[in-house]
């Protein structure tokens, strides 16, 4: 169990952030499940701080134009396009 109870409002807030439409029965089901799952994740609080030296390197390349998809190929999987562009919903 997580220290703070998960409430339906939390699930609705996260769904809104993640841009997923949920009906009320889904909100209810996820609320109950997330209590258990997040409770299980709470164990991570016991993990000590660890000294680590990540062996990371930058792999930048020069910003040069390279061959890429044709406009036709790029648009091929879109449900709607117009004048060689993707067509999306209105912005607001």
């Amino acid at each position: 169990m997580t220290d703070e109870p998960v409430e339906a409002a939390d699930v609705r807030r996260v769904a809104d952030l993640a841009r997923v439409e949920l009906d009320e029965s889904a909100v209810e089901a996820f609320t109950a499940e997330f209590q258990d799952i997040l409770g299980y994740f709470d164990a991570l609080e016991e993990v000590p701080a660890v000294e680590s030296e990540p062996d990371l390197v930058n792999v930048m390349r020069a910003d040069e134009v390279q061959p890429s998809l044709s406009q036709e190929d790029a648009l091929r999987n879109a449900s709607e396009s117009e004048d060689g562009r993707f067509k999306g919903p209105r912005v607001s």
């Binding site: 949920l22 994740f41 792999v59 709607e80």
Partner: protein
């Protein structure tokens, strides 16, 4: 009855000559194939046809392979049974009432059933090794950076690798040699291990090898699994290997850390599915956010939505430090533990899965229970190490897998040791 191993049957001919000429390969359906739909087991991408090949697919073609189909999988790789596919579950060829494991269940089932000589899967937390164990085949999860992920539809980039599934260690190793090596399209690939002939080391020579047994990852297994695992160890000892116990205290936290990291990366990666450039369209009613949310609730299945929501939660303000940051600490700790274990042993051994393959439908109800059965496989992905699953017989007619874990770019050691079990 059909196993439902394939989502799309096809025939893509490779070059006429090469190491895989006359070899048929099945490819997991999250690996892009030019002109052949690549669904990721999701309704979201039911009609998506990639305009380019993944690097591994180009390499298969150049090696002369014939690709015979795109295999069924848990939606976007999220599952351990291949039951979350929008195209229905795959059945286990060994016993059709049972799951083949996941998420590369279609690839393992295709190989076991003889529908393809070898197959490609992808492994984010065990998705190659689990189905290999559950179907009695061999699966290799390569070291992170050995195989290009270009053209793999991303789920959790920092964890996943493409790898082979085959009937024998040698065949899996041959396929690994073809796909391994750096790629200019994937900046995380490395030079190490590129030019190795992995099949040549499948010689079964384990004389003098030290095998570490992490007790934490053995004790949780079902008795039948444990029995087969112990028999496998005995086989290796008889051939001159030595076994020692090693301690991995961090693995207690590995499953929680793995899921927090994987879900967080998934929530970010899957944000691209808005139904505009590809995928299920949310239509043109309402504003962008409403159309976007509709597209996603129509196109994604329950497990995918569950993980996106939990990942968004773990990254959200007020929770980031508690979940995501702590998961990264756990990940560093797991790496450190493995480093220490490899001071004492050349390779480590565990049962691949702590359980036998569940019956179809048996395990879907409780997601948390499902996540816990990945206990032996996820630490390997957190530490970016290579691991192989090799069959070690059956219990009650169901296959058991033996996992060997190597140090980074230590594929040769685990292939050699794995071949000694055959």
């Amino acid at each position: 009855m059909s196993l439902n191993a394939f989502i799309t049957r096809t025939e893509i001919e490779g070059e006429t000559e090469g190491p895989l000429a006359d070899t048929t390969v099945a490819v997991k359906d999250n690996i892009s194939t030019e002109g052949v739909r690549t669904t990721c087991g999701s309704e979201m991408l039911e009609e998506y046809v990639p305009p380019y090949d993944a690097t591994v697919v180009s390499r298969l073609k150049a090696a002369g392979a014939t690709i015979v189909g795109k295999t069924n999988m848990d939606e976007f790789g999220m599952g351990t049974t291949t039951e979350t596919s929008a195209f229905g579950p795959t059945r286990n060829p060994v016993d059709e009432d049972h799951v083949p494991g996941g998420s590369s269940g279609g690839s393992a089932a295709a190989v076991k059933n003889g529908d393809a000589d070898v197959a490609l899967g992808s492994d984010t937390g065990g998705s190659i090794r689990c189905p290999a164990a559950f179907t009695g085949t061999v699966g290799i999860k390569p070291t992170y950076g050995l195989v290009s992920r270009y053209g793999l539809v991303a789920y959790a980039n920092s964890l996943e690798q493409i790898g082979p599934i085959a009937s024998t260690v040698r065949e899996a190793a041959e396929l690994l040699s073809v796909i391994a090596g750096p790629d200019e399209h994937d900046g995380t690939t490395r030079e190490a291990g590129a030019a190795v002939d992995y099949a040549a080391v499948a010689d079964g020579d384990v004389e003098g090898l030290t095998i570490g047994i992490p007790t934490e990852l053995v004790e949780g297994s079902e008795p039948g699994v444990r029995e087969r695992f112990e028999a496998g160890l005995e086989t290796l000892r008889e051939q001159g290997a030595r076994t020692v116990e090693v301690d991995l205290p961090s693995v207690e936290y590995a499953v929680a850390a793995y899921y927090v990291i994987a879900m967080s990366e998934a929530s970010s990666n899957l944000a691209r599915f808005d139904g505009v450039r590809y995928g299920v369209s949310g239509g043109f009613e309402g504003d962008w956010n409403e159309a976007f949310a509709k597209s996603r609730s129509d196109g994604f299945g329950e497990e995918v939505i569950r993980r996106i929501l939990l990942g968004t939660f773990a990254l959200s303000e007020g929770y980031h430090d508690k979940y995501y940051k702590q998961a990264q600490e756990a990940r560093s700790w797991v790496k450190q533990d493995f480093d220490a274990a490899f001071e004492e042993a050349d390779v480590l051994a565990t049962p691949t899965m702590p359980v036998l393959p569940p019956k179809l439908g048996e395990s879907l109800d409780d997601p948390l229970q499902m996540y816990r059965i990945d206990a032996n496989t996820v630490p390997v992905n957190l530490a970016n190490l290579p691991a192989i699953s090799v069959p070690v017989g059956e219990h009650e007619g169901l296959p058991v897998g033996f996992q060997l874990i190597g140090p980074a770019f230590g594929e040769e050691q685990i292939i050699r040791a794995g071949s000694a079990l055959e």
